[in-house]
Amino acid sequence: MTDPLVGDVLLTRPPFFVIGALLGLTVVGVLATLNQQLGALGGYSAVFERASGRTRALGWKAWFLLGIFAGALIFRLLAGGTTAGEGYGWLTRTFADDWVVGPLLLVGGALIGFGAKTAGGCTSGNGICGTALGSAASFVATATFMAVAVGVTFFIDLVIA
């Protein structure tokens, strides 16, 4: 059973610095414990590389990704509700047909996977960890994907309006 008080706290977005501190400390903790640089995309890549026989051992980032799943599941159980919204954002509001939404998410996901792999990381790997470590490539990648994502979101907003 979910404690209503816990549910209220978890379903209310905390100040930005609370989440920022948790993620920043995770970067420091992973380095202090495993001497590794974290990134969520690396988890998917580790699973892919193991499943396709490119590596014989499952990379540690796959376990990190499993942890992300587990952490979100624990959150969901403790909160007694979701923080994932209704339907799927602008996609399910704009397209009534599920046969449009699914393929668009698939294509979007492929761009995320291919693009982030090429850039050497995603929002967590480049945007949070790489920049904290002072990697110039991560600053360039982060500035690029932020600017492009903002530009494309404004474009989508214009088109669907």
Binding site: Y44, G89, W90, L133, V152
Partner: protein, 145 residues
């Protein structure tokens, strides 16, 4: 073997903190992400600045204090990379996918855990994208030989 198990447990533990935090910060909600990308809500940017600042100071403190990593016993160290064209090209492609889905690799795992079945499409797409990356990389390596 014992060390490998401890490393896996630690990786799952740190991942769990990460997954819990992004769920609490509502980064699992595509509409929240969209508001941030439409510059209506500064939360994402302020959160990232906090995380990066704290991480920046924290990892340098570890190095300054010559800390050895708890499970590997090796001195804390990391590598940095100089920018190359692939960082811009790849990040631009990633940015388009991020804007289309209003999500990225960590939040889609969080969405799945929170019961959003749509995220299965995005996850499948990410794996396809990674596959295309390796195919392209292996093809260009074969051509170079």
């Amino acid at each position: 073997m014992k060390g490998a198990l401890a490393s896996r447990v630690a990786a799952v533990g740190f991942g769990a903190v990460f997954g819990f935090a992004i769920s609490w910060g509502q980064f699992t909600d595509p509409d929240r992400l969209r508001e941030m990308l439409l510059l209506e809500d500064p939360y994402l940017y302020l959160m990232m600045v906090t995380a990066v600042t704290l991480g920046f100071v924290g990892v340098r403190l570890l190095r300054r204090l010559r800390v050895r990593a708890l499970l590997t016993g090796t001195p804390v160290a990391w590598t940095t990379t100089r920018p190359e064209p692939r960082h811009v090209a790849g990040a631009a492609i990633f940015g388009v996918g991020w804007a289309m889905t209003d999500s990225c690799p960590a939040p889609i795992a969080g969405q799945l855990a929170q019961g959003v079945a749509w995220s299965l499409f995005t996850i499948a797409g990410v794996l396809v994208g990674i596959g295309l990356f390796f195919r392209r990389q292996e093809r260009s390596q074969a051509n170079a030989r």
